[in-house]
Amino acid sequence: MDVITLKDCRKALIAALWFMFLTFPLLVIKVNTTENLVIWRWHNLLYVGVAAGSASLLTSIFRGLHDRKREQQRHQEKVIHISLTERFFSNPVVSRPVLAAGALFFLIFPLLFSTYQVNIMTTALMYVVLGLGLNIVVGVAGLLNLGYVAFYAVGAYTYALLNMHFGVGFWVALPLGGIMAALFGILLGFPVLRLRGDYLAIVTLGFGEIILLVLKNWAEFSQGPGGISNISRPGFFGMEMSMATTLNYQYYLTIAMVLLTIFVINRLQNSRIGRALFALREDEIACQAMGIDKTTIKLTAFALGATWAGLAGVLFAAKNAYVNPDSFTFLESAMILCIVVLGGMGSIVGVIIGALILILLPEYLRAFSDYRMLAFGALLVIMMVFRPQGIVANIRRSYHKKDSAP
């Protein structure tokens, strides 16, 4: 069995020609309708052909190797496959120092790097919170929420408006933002959660757009597209702080928030509610048959997810001291979804890694920033086709029989 067969080559050639045909009008011709100019970009055709051909060839090789491996395994004894992450976590000698080093790195991060880096890291950590929140809804409960950013907006605007009209401070607004977002989650969830999953996706998408349109158009309420500026930054017992200190303070605040989120979600996953949510994701009918109230448990998941978005929203408004509707578009929802899917649905470590990769990488690859959303879209498809469990697969709590059974 060769690595590359003639058939694979023919397939690659067909793929190359097909994609050259497919992308011909959009990639090769560029029209300027005002001056009636046409620019021909033939070089793009070459790139597409080479890329499509090699992608097809690589897939064939990969698949061939995979099949061969499986063929070999069939002849061997049956081995129980344990994933790398599972081995990592089940071995405290390895996992504890690594986790401790990671924690230490994040703790002393502001001492090592410039304020610019700290600012970026704060943003990334906020996405960790958002990702973990969406993870409850999508990863744990299996409800696809495409309007997640709407709850983020609710949190941010709750703080912005309360601060503008009544001078409410950050610490008072934080729980209020969470509660407001949860209320919106229940409000939206109530009518639609009785429905099947795909309807939920589209209704949440519509809901996100409605919130965005209201924020843009209802100027008396939200100041319209101009947004709200001069929002107070978070205080610390009324202490006066310099700019750099404020940034560091915000960084630690976000870290605290991430830790709280991880703690709560970790406890949640092993709780009665968490197990009910897993059951819901696996099979709705079986879940109901076990006596779980589907609507209540879905609402709980929805409200819990929304709460974290609301909290992150308050944090976002306080960090930037400015909110406007453009921060809450569908692309933002898509990015958070991408974080969860890339990291691994249902897995806390995965979501953290996913958020750090997806937020930090584009920051340091500024040259490719135009291609960011293109890559996100492709990433969602590729992950679903080749590795649906994400980078770090979720580990379900399992119970083993002890060897020395009495």
Partner: protein, 300 residues
């Protein structure tokens, strides 16, 4: 009264376009039970292809009717090709995967195609040439209905009739109906399910391309983002009529088009999209199966 009639015509025009897109959603949903999020993008690609081909042909000085026909044919060919490719790459490998996987894949495809067109062409609005010529004998009515509106209504009606005939009387149509009723059973009696699914995507994409060309010449400008909102609204229309049902999609589209037209005409145009989404939520609460759909009971 004249204002009222104007709104009715504008609603019917909108409805026709939604219908052309909604049919693609409903056919795909009927056969593989997937919301094809990338369908709006296929429609946008159709409009872009038509624009590009029309501009190039215009440079060579072809007459307007020839440009119109060639650009529409090109739009249909390439939209169908994109629809086919999207299915092969993003949905076919995921058949039999958990429900959420193809949905996420579809969203990824939608984002990818949007950004692909934006990067390959332009992020700005492009003026779309007036491909449909003005007919002078219609001038008496132009205050209420333009030539383009009439063309849209006419073309939509013809396309609907052709589609109905195809599904009712051809061999492929029969295979499509069989596959949508029970995929495994259709496979067992010798229907090539893969081909049927591909044909469904190609048909749906061609309809979307026709919609794209028509609406672009009606509005007069396009950009890479037009597919997103149009896609959501067409989906709303499909759900409104009962997803999976072809007459339902058409009825739902006209109801949605008229609702939007009256709401923007009598209430406010700033919240145009809010009405569509609110209608969707209301329908899902009170009649989840849609106007013409039947409630299905899930059996284990």
């Amino acid at each position: 009264m004249e204002y009222f009639l104007e709104l009715v015509f504008s609603g019917l025009t909108r409805g026709s376009i939604y219908a052309l897109i909604a049919l693609g959603y409903t056919m795909v949903y009927g056969i593989i039970g997937l919301i094809n999020f990338a369908h709006g993008e296929i429609y946008m690609i159709g409009a872009f292809t038509a624009l590009i081909i029309a501009t190039v042909l215009n440079m060579y000085g072809l007459p307007l009717p020839a440009i119109l026909i060639l650009a529409s044919v090109a739009a249909i060919i390439w939209s169908a090709a994109y629809g086919f490719t999207v299915e092969r790459l993003a949905y076919r490998p995921l058949r039999g995967a958990p429900r959420l996987s193809p949905l996420i894949s579809a969203i990824g495809m939608s984002i990818f195609l949007q950004n692909y067109v934006m990067l390959a062409q332009t992020p700005n609005f492009l003026p779309f040439p007036a491909l449909i010529p003005d007919l002078p004998f219609l001038n008496r009515f132009t205050s209420m209905v333009g030539t383009t509106d009439l063309a849209i209504l006419l073309v939509t009606a013809i396309v609907m009739i052709l589609l109905t005939l195809m599904i009712k009387f051809t061999r492929t149509g029969k295979a499509m109906r069989a596959t949508s009723q029970d995929r495994t059973m259709a496979f067992l009696v010798g229907v090539n399910v893969d081909t049927v699914i591909s044909v469904t995507f190609i048909t749906g994409s061609s309809l979307a391309a026709i919609g794209g060309v028509l609406i672009a010449s009606h509005i007069g400008q396009i950009n890479f983002y037009i597919g997103f909102i149009a896609g959501i609204k067409a989906f709303t229309a499909a759900v409104l009529g009962g997803i999976g049902s072809i007459p339902g999609a058409v009825l739902g589209s006209f109801v949605l088009g008229l609702t939007e037209s009256f709401a923007t005409g009598y209430v406010s145009s700033a919240y145009e999209d809010v009405f569509a989404f609110s209608l969707l939520v209301l329908i899902l609460i009170f009649r989840p199966a849609g106007l013409l759909g039947r409630a299905t009971i899930e059996k284990v």
